[in-house]
Amino acid sequence: MLFTVLLGLITSSLIVPFGRFVKTKWGIILAFIPLLLFLYYLQYIPLISWDKSYVQHIDWIPSLGVNFDLRLDGLSLLFSLLITGIGTCIFFYAKSYLKNDPYIDRFFGYLCLFMSAMLGLVLSDNIFLLFTFWELTSISSFFLIGFNNDHAVSRKSALTALSVTGLGGFFLLAGLVLMGNIAQTYSISELAEKAQLIQDHELFPYILGLVILGAMTKSAQFPFHFWLPGAMKAPTPVSAYLHSATMVKAGIYLLARFFPILGSNPAWTYSLMIIGGITMLYGAFHSLFRTDMKGVLAYSTISALGILVFLLGIGTEDAIIAVAVFIVVHALYKATLFLITGIIDHATHTRDLSVLQGLRKVLLPVAIAGFLAALSSAGVPLTLGFIGKDLIYEATLHSEQHVAIYLTVAAVITNILLVSAGFMAGIKPFMGTLPEKFEKINMPAKSLWIPPLILALLGVLFGCFPHIIGDWIAQPTVNSIMKVKTDFHLQIWHGFNLVLLLSALTIILGTILYFINKPNPRKLQWIERLNFIAPLTIFQKAYQRIYNFSTSYSNYFHNGYLRSYLLKIIIFAEVLLAYQLYLGGPLHINWDLLSAISVYEVVTVLIVFGAVALTLSTASRLTAVVATSVIGYGICLLFVFYSAPDLAMTQFTIDTLTVVLFVLVLFKLPPFLNLAKKRILIRDVVVAIVFGMILSMVAIRVLHVPTHIAISEFYGKNAYLLAKGRNVVNVLLVDFRGFDTMFEIIVLSIAALGVYSLLKLRLKSSEKE
């Protein structure tokens, strides 16, 4: 299993050196990666049963409980198949779709990365691993959404998507950590065993809220839905992949995965039902007003995600079965609709539904795919959508008595609106008479229209033989969500009952709505007038406020003057230290503890005083530097007196080199002039004197604090025993704290590279913009 996660990561890093290869026609080989993975996961279908799952355990940071644990159960398998299966279609499609794009290598790099992240997410059995992949999907989708990075709108939507999903990531992490701490385990399967412990804990409401917030942002639930329509700025294959089967379903996956741990209690049920309910109605309602094909699809996706959250909230066995099936239904028809949108966009250079019509005459196979997908989304019998819709109504009708009627009404209204949205995207562009300007359209390449056709046909195939999905995919999924063995079989025909009536009603009313509701730019304008209360506007305003605040904040603290930095740092340190000293109570000096003063020390200190006086009074920059280095040397001598030879040696050499450095730099500076105003001089003097006084007081205080000699004793004892060295300082540097040293020399190297590149690689004035 590990290789399935790593394959995409390795491929995406190999694309960096071998990117040119992707641009040739051989780049199509990349599409065989998801295909291979898809076939690999297919073989698990007969192997996974309700209590059987495949586990791969790899220690990563065992001391922190972070392990690379992968687990393949029914739920993971469903998602893995979707990710790789739809992924295969997308890879083939994207290769043709972006054939002329100069950055196609980059695109496939991001796509592979994203696919790996998604696979890792659905397979991981450790909450930290899960979170890592969760964030990786946010980041890689950021690159995919902002792929057309020369458009400002594209960049902005990518940033919005990243900040919303990233914010959710924070919530999720907090929730996961709380959960892990309560249960004392970071393994998801072990957490499920301690569900009762977590649910009884007083922090449970917070955990639940945080996890739901994480899922809401990722799965575009109201009021965090606004990043999803914005993400439509991505190239169409990306939209198809992200919004049908992967990115937005990650939140659904999360909720399903944590259903055994957090579910089955009123807080879970009501919050998810309300969130999902609002989202599904809101998304479906908004999809009516869009004229852009992708806009319609975006809002109907939001609505479908709402339905899934809603069903997870209901949480009965019927509802979970409906979730498992509807995930497949939605992935199949939504991917198809997105892909045909891409084809239409390519061929006609517009996605405006008020213009597009009659395209069946020139794009027949695409039209067939669109028709089938639209029928599946409408839930017409003999499509998988019909079965999905049946299950949804079944779930709402058989939920708790007093809410069943409301839930059913909400589901029916949503579905009626979705029928219309599906017809709008899948049928509308192909109906009517073909305008003259579209007559010259040629059929697109095979790799463009075959993937959506396959997906659409699968929707019909599964609709005619629902037990394929039911027994092989849905049943293991439901079992792994419910953690009990359930036995159900999907059927095409349930007999005449209320559910069938509701289904028929949905299709009829939806079709009527489709004929009444003509796409019209004026309606779009009408709905946009309500934008001032939309969550997106609120988000943008908050964003602008934060942006302004941080700009002024940075401008104040980060103004580029070294003297201002020093002043701020010193004042800050003074405040902190003074506060600590104040807390510590009165100071007193115990003269008995101090050793006698020797004549060497007196002389050294006198020299240092003289040097300080000279530094302050001299008018020459060079003299000031030399005087400062005298101070440094004086301190080195003190180190020698107090038997710290290592320190003294280092300080001596450093001081010498600092003077050299100063001299080299000073060479270029203008003469030393005193430009400071008297007021500023006084301020600096006060700050300096206060700092000196505080440090002296700290030094006196240190004498009182009983020294912890345990540490130095440990090093003294063990330096030779463990590290075979007699010089404790050096043993510390190269052995006990060797990691620190390693990072320090890396930092040094970076500093040197910085100086080198700043000075050597300076742009000539002609090269500057």
């Binding site: 280092t650 050499t653 080199l657 463990l722 010089n727 190269v734 052995d735 020399i745 040197a752 000075l759």
Partner: protein
């Protein structure tokens, strides 16, 4: 700053100081010294030479850019860090030869690590100083 005395002196001081820096490096594990101080002393030797003869002359003695010492040093340190992993021990475990070698003494990964530090320090100090001094010409 072309002074005959300094020029003559630096010609002899350079090898002596370098020798001294190497001495500091080797004894570091038992007596005051170590890779960091050793590296600083070695760079002072070169800086002194550059003061007397000009930076370009010193660069000629060095033959290679001091910048190239940085990756070599980092590589040596990193190698000594990960070498125990080859033998299946945790990273950074000290490995030692069983018997001391004449003059040098005990040899182990710690010394290798120190040599890495030594080279990085020389590389960093000389890169910074020489870059600045060459750019001010």
């Amino acid at each position: 700053m072309k002074s005959t005395i300094l020029q003559t002196a630096s010609r002899y001081l350079l090898p002596i100081l370098l020798l001294f820096s190497f001495f500091l490096l080797l004894r570091g594990h038992y007596f005051p010294g170590g890779g960091f101080v050793g590296g600083l002393v070695a760079s002072i030797a070169f800086v002194l030479h550059s003061f007397a003869h000009g930076t370009n002359e010193t660069m000629k003695i060095l033959r290679y850019k001091p910048l190239s010492l940085i990756p070599i040093g980092l590589g040596i340190s990193a190698f000594s860090m990960f070498m125990p992993a080859i033998f299946g021990l945790p990273v950074m475990t000290g490995l030692w030869l069983e018997h001391p070698i004449p003059v040098i003494g005990m040899i182990g990964t710690a010394l290798l690590f120190d040599i890495g530090i030594y080279l990085v320090v020389i590389g960093v100090v000389l890169t910074i100083l020489f870059t600045i001094s060459l750019s001010s010409d």
